[in-house]
């Protein structure tokens, strides 16, 4: 047992926890991160590393995502390399109806100041010759890129330690100590208590249970996603390519009663991402489930969907599949917020964008804790917005 004192305790060593600790340390705060497993034990290690501004709601959230991208590019100059590849991405429409949706999205993105190009059938096939011959159009987003989330987490870890931050892995938070007046007094772990006046819940899908320890209702639930890994040294596309259903699904919770087919109920779509390790990831799926075991039916449906867009994938081998759970909120946007317990904060619920939004959220959380002006108005990300909805 090791009783301890800290200025700020960050609970969770995933993307949000590490980013929060990094920015707090840069402001000179004394930080201890508590992680119940190894670094990035949760969803961060089961993720893709796509950092694009192509599927966000117009307005505030698109601007937030643009700032998130800039923050990541800035970090490439501050911490060890994390395989950042700035390649942009392509979104494909499957039929004429989706071409119309693409045209509308094009207008919205231009209005929010995001670079974007509408591609007709000819453009699509010129850009990626392996695309199925009948694909009628798409959008190109020249900005953004991809990174390796694991390397990102390890680079942040090294930077945190260099700045004197403490990271205690394989230590589980078991309780939150709150005074009768509703003020945070400390955090209990299976390896001793830590006295602190500030703590951040950054536990992804597990934030709900941590919140309950302090009497808070944090409405985050698991939304599963599966990925397939193709054999090395295959060439399909130059860059990340996905079907437009990806952005449509973003605003929709799969598994509704009106969804008839297996594909609809499991939010099956197409995404391919060539990685720096010279293989490619194939996705995607999106459905409420609390398991990180790959589902065979979903793997099969994703394979069919991928062949639909890129028939040459047919003969390529899948060597591995994995799955993760996105921390999902009722309005699918993140929670970066103070709480009813004084000194206790939440930085979680980033759904399918938690790698991209990690640094900007961590930075704003550090500003909030230090009483500074935040880069964005945090009202749309407050925890109590869900209370209002329920009343």
């Amino acid at each position: 047992m090791m009783n301890d004192v800290a200025d700020v305790v960050v609970i969770g060593g995933g993307m949000q926890g590490l980013s929060t600790a990094y920015f707090l340390l840069k402001k000179g705060r004394n930080v201890t991160v508590i992680e119940r497993g190894d670094i990035a034990n949760g969803t961060t290690s089961r993720s893709d590393g796509d950092i694009f501004v192509c599927d966000s709601t117009p307005g505030y959230f698109t601007k937030l995502q643009k700032a998130a991208l800039d923050e990541i590019v800035a970090l490439t100059h501050e911490i060890d390399d994390f395989d950042w590849m700035a390649k942009g991405c392509v979104i494909l429409a499957e039929n004429e109806e989706q071409v119309e949706i693409a045209k509308k999205q094009y207008q919205e993105k231009i209005a929010d100041g995001i670079r974007c190009r509408f591609m007709d059938k000819h453009d699509v096939h010129e850009d990626e010759p392996n695309t199925a011959p009948d694909i009628p159009g798409g959008l190109e987003f020249p900005d953004g890129g991809s990174l390796n989330p694991m390397l990102f987490a390890y680079s942040l870890t090294r930077a945190i330690r260099q700045m004197g931050g403490k990271i205690r892995c394989f230590t589980t938070v078991t309780g939150i100590d709150v005074s009768p007046e509703g003020v945070l007094r400390g955090v209990r772990t299976d390896d001793g208590d830590i006295l602190c006046s500030t703590a951040v819940i950054a536990c992804g899908v597990w934030s709900r249970e941590i919140g309950m320890m302090a009497g808070l209702d944090i409405p985050i639930t698991p939304m599963k996603g599966d990925l397939l890994v193709l054999e090395p040294n295959v060439y399909i596309t130059r860059r990340k390519t996905m079907d437009i259903g990806y952005s449509l699904l973003r605003h929709k919770k799969a598994g509704g009663a009106d969804e008839k087919t297996f594909e609809e109920a499991h939010g099956i779509g197409f995404l391919i991402e060539p990685t720096n390790e010279k293989n490619a990831l194939i996705g995607f799926s999106k459905y409420p489930a609390d398991s990180t075991v790959s589902s065979l039916g979903v793997m099969q449906a994703m394979a069919r969907r991928a062949i639909r867009f890129f028939p040459i994938i047919k003969d390529m081998n899948v060597i591995r599949a994995y799955a993760g759970v996105r921390p999902w909120t009722p309005d699918h946007e993140a929670i970066v917020s103070a709480t009813d317990v004084q000194g206790l904060y939440v930085n979680a619920g980033h759904a399918g964008d938690g790698i991209k939004l990690g640094p900007i959220s961590g930075k704003m959380m550090s500003q909030l804790i230090c009483g500074e002006q935040t880069d964005f108005d945090l009202a749309p990300l407050r925890l109590d917005r869900f209370k209002e909805v329920r009343v």
Binding site: D38, L228, F262, E277, A303, R304, V318
Partner: protein, 271 residues
Amino acid sequence: MDGTILQNGYPSLDELRQMGRFPSEERFRKGPVAVIECIQQIPCDPCEGACPFGAIHVGTPITNLPVLDENRCTGCGACISHCSGLAIFVVNKAYKPGMATVSFPHEYLPLPENGQIVDAVDRAGSFVCKAEVIRISNAPANDHTPVITIAVPLEAADDVRGMKRLGHEDSYAGEAERGIKAAEGDDVLVCRCEEISIGDIKKAISEGATTLTGVKRRTRAGMGLCQGRTCHQLIERMLQNASNVPVEPDTVRPPMVPVSMDVLGRSADDE
């Protein structure tokens, strides 16, 4: 019903037959013959060089599956211990009337003794029948992979592919560790698919990896084509030496062997 490679990680007899990976019944009747149950398209070809009769062909690319020329094969078994995937067997269906022999690699100590009655198991490791050990080959050429031959009823010859291990004291990992110590040198490759060396693994452990997953994520060892079949035991032992606590078993992720997108997409839904 028989499972499939996709579900279980090992091929069913039907699948092996369909893939044309089984010698003909006619050849089986003539005496001992190698049965190559390799379904891993990995960069690996020691079996080709191991055959004194030129009966095994891998060719280029090196990820091809080996093809057996059943008429050249004499069933000598030289290939068995050279297959790092432990996927080659010799079956003799002409051993005695109604009896066959099966020879297989067995990397567990203690070894059985000649004449000992052991439990014969199938590809999944499940008990099939009792069997008598008739030969134990542990020649230096086997390079620490003993080959055991057991006699089984003829009907069991296509199913039996090994025996239950006898003790748990010393395992393949022990052998593997000895191999590593003998090799020394940080530049020795542990993971051949991703070209990860002993030094890389040591560095990951020093940076805080305490589990196989921790090493994999830091180095990519075991994440290549063969998905760790060759290196996981070695890494586990290195972790164990570093920490003195038992290492958590690794998560197994499907599919157990590479499967084409087409086959994956077409296989029947089971949900």
